[in-house]
Amino acid sequence: MSVIIFTEHSNGEIRKSSREALSYGSALAGRMGVSAEAVLLGTVSQDPSSLGIHGVSVVHHCADETLNTADTRRYTSIMAEIATACGSTVVIFPHSMNGKAVAPRLSARLKAGYVSGATRLPDVEKGFVVRRNVFSGKAFMDVLVQTPVSIISVNPNSFGILEGEGIAEVRPYHTSVGAGRVVVRETKKVTGQVPLGEAELVVSGGRGLKGPEHWGLVEDLAGLIGAATACSRAVADAHWRPHHEHVGQTGLAIAPNLYFAIGISGAIQHLAGVNRSKVIVVVNKDPEAPFFKAADYGIVGDAFEVMPRVIDAVRKLRKG
């Protein structure tokens, strides 16, 4: 019996959302009194035994370079192989782009109940009950897994990363699953930026900023505090900002520790994607803007006057 955790990497580095998934899986294994084991597909720059700091005792490592690009059908076959070989009763994924594609496939393969986007550890006292987000962040649903094996994808920023001292045993794994039919032609990555879905701090702009030429106000603050940048749908639709920055009901749903919204009205569809943020700050010149009802801190004022002073104050804070 074991809990196995699908561990993703990007450019050889273990992803933050996977460190969260490892921490989650280890904590769950602790509750269940079984071992936590990582599955690492592809090659990474650090020694995989270091994943032990997140509580896993074993790393099943398939050090095959062709696994560095994602083929979700092939990943599924390998995960199924390892889960079966290890007699795993729980398989954990990060709720990342690839996690979202592999976890449900594995669920259909193993006929194992899948809980998508878990926000907390399962309750193992009364069966196996897992809380997840539904209605685009407007509610939670507790789901009972009715099969012997459970599959869970863990929402980014909802569990945190646990770090200890451990060193994991690395077990080389050789798979018989051959190459698939997916040929990756090109990967375009914005480097040096925090991916929005994983970011702890997010600064976001809306139509109130009047045009893309004013995004310095968003970027300067984001740069100073190490935040990712986001925008409203109206802004992405106007092509002021790239689509992947659009948050909300029809964009990315995020749950950072800080969501700093500048010139965004706070329409219900926008709130649906950000209302799980721990602290929400709103700068808007309209005191009636709906966003103030969902905010923790706010300034009713003109962003063009308020933000330069906010940025200056943060700069002083960083220096001091």
């Binding site: 782009m97 976890a103 496939r105 649903m141 507790d142 914005v190 749903a253 219900i268 801190y297 943060v314």
Partner: protein, 247 residues
């Protein structure tokens, strides 16, 4: 090309979310229903665009639900489907839905199966990938662009902090999101034509769900906004640093 588009019904984005029966039922009184925006704006409209480019393309729609979802599937037909299937059941989880869709897909031999990236009510992002697995097909999730070269699809998908372009032979399942197409409004001719397009009601395949609902909970309300005067933005920074301790 033969395309199957999966259509789901969801509450309107402004619907009030409330629960009854000991928090086990979504209260539907007064709720306006819509086609799940991802299914409509991206999956279905993309299929319609492909048909506009190649008139031999046919678009088949599938939904899994009771008779009350029919207005939604009629609306989808008005936008541009050729025929629709409704598998007559109230599904309990994504797996049950996927099994029904896979069954129809097996019989129809489609080149392309399109879904939205997720539904805005259950947010599972699971059905498309499960269908692909049940049919042993490849799948691209969160696709933002789709083109063809010979018998292969060239699909762009979102990855963390960027995008990836891959070439994959058909048949293929694709979950669609923003970038794939632009929303359209059904016109009068489409609405009239939809009335007579075939809508086949199909009995479900027997299959047990893998998960069950225990209950719903609403998140705790925020305690209220703390407003800082506009002429003291420095005070906001101090609060975020000293009180909230997040910067």
């Amino acid at each position: 090309m033969k395309i199957l588009v999966c259509i789901s019904r969801t509450p309107d984005t402004t619907a009030k979310i409330a629960f009854g029966d000991n928090n086990t039922k979504f209260v539907t009184d007064g709720v306006q229903w819509i086609i799940n925006p991802y299914d409509e704006w991206y999956a279905l409209v993309r299929a319609i665009m492909l048909k506009e480019r190649d008139a031999s393309t046919t678009i088949h729609l599938i939904t899994v639900g009771g008779a009350d979802v029919e207005p939604i599937i009629r609306k989808a037909l008005a936008l541009g489907g050729d025929e629709a299937f409704r598998v007559d059941m109230e599904p309990m989880d994504s797996y049950q839905v996927a099994v029904q869709i896979a069954q129809i897909a097996r019989e129809g031999q489609y080149d392309l199966i399109l879904t939205g990236k997720e539904t805005i009510d259950s947010n599972g992002s699971a059905v498309g990938a499960m269908v692909a697995e049940l049919l042993d097909m490849d799948m691209v999730s969160l696709a933002t662009a789709l083109e063809f070269e010979g018998s292969s699809a060239i699909v762009t998908r979102e990855i963390e902090g960027g995008e990836e372009v891959a070439e994959i032979p058909l048949p293929l399942v694709i979950s669609c999101q923003k970038g794939m197409a632009e929303a359209r409004i059904p016109n009068m001719r489409g609405i009239m034509a939809a009335r007579t397009k075939p809508l086949k009601v199909v009995p479900p395949v027997e299959v047990a769900p893998l998960t069950g609902l225990v209950s719903y909970t609403l998140p705790p309300a925020r305690s209220g906004v703390r407003l800082v005067p506009a002429d003291q933005p420095e005070e906001l920074v101090r609060l975020l640093h000293e009180e909230a301790r997040i910067i």
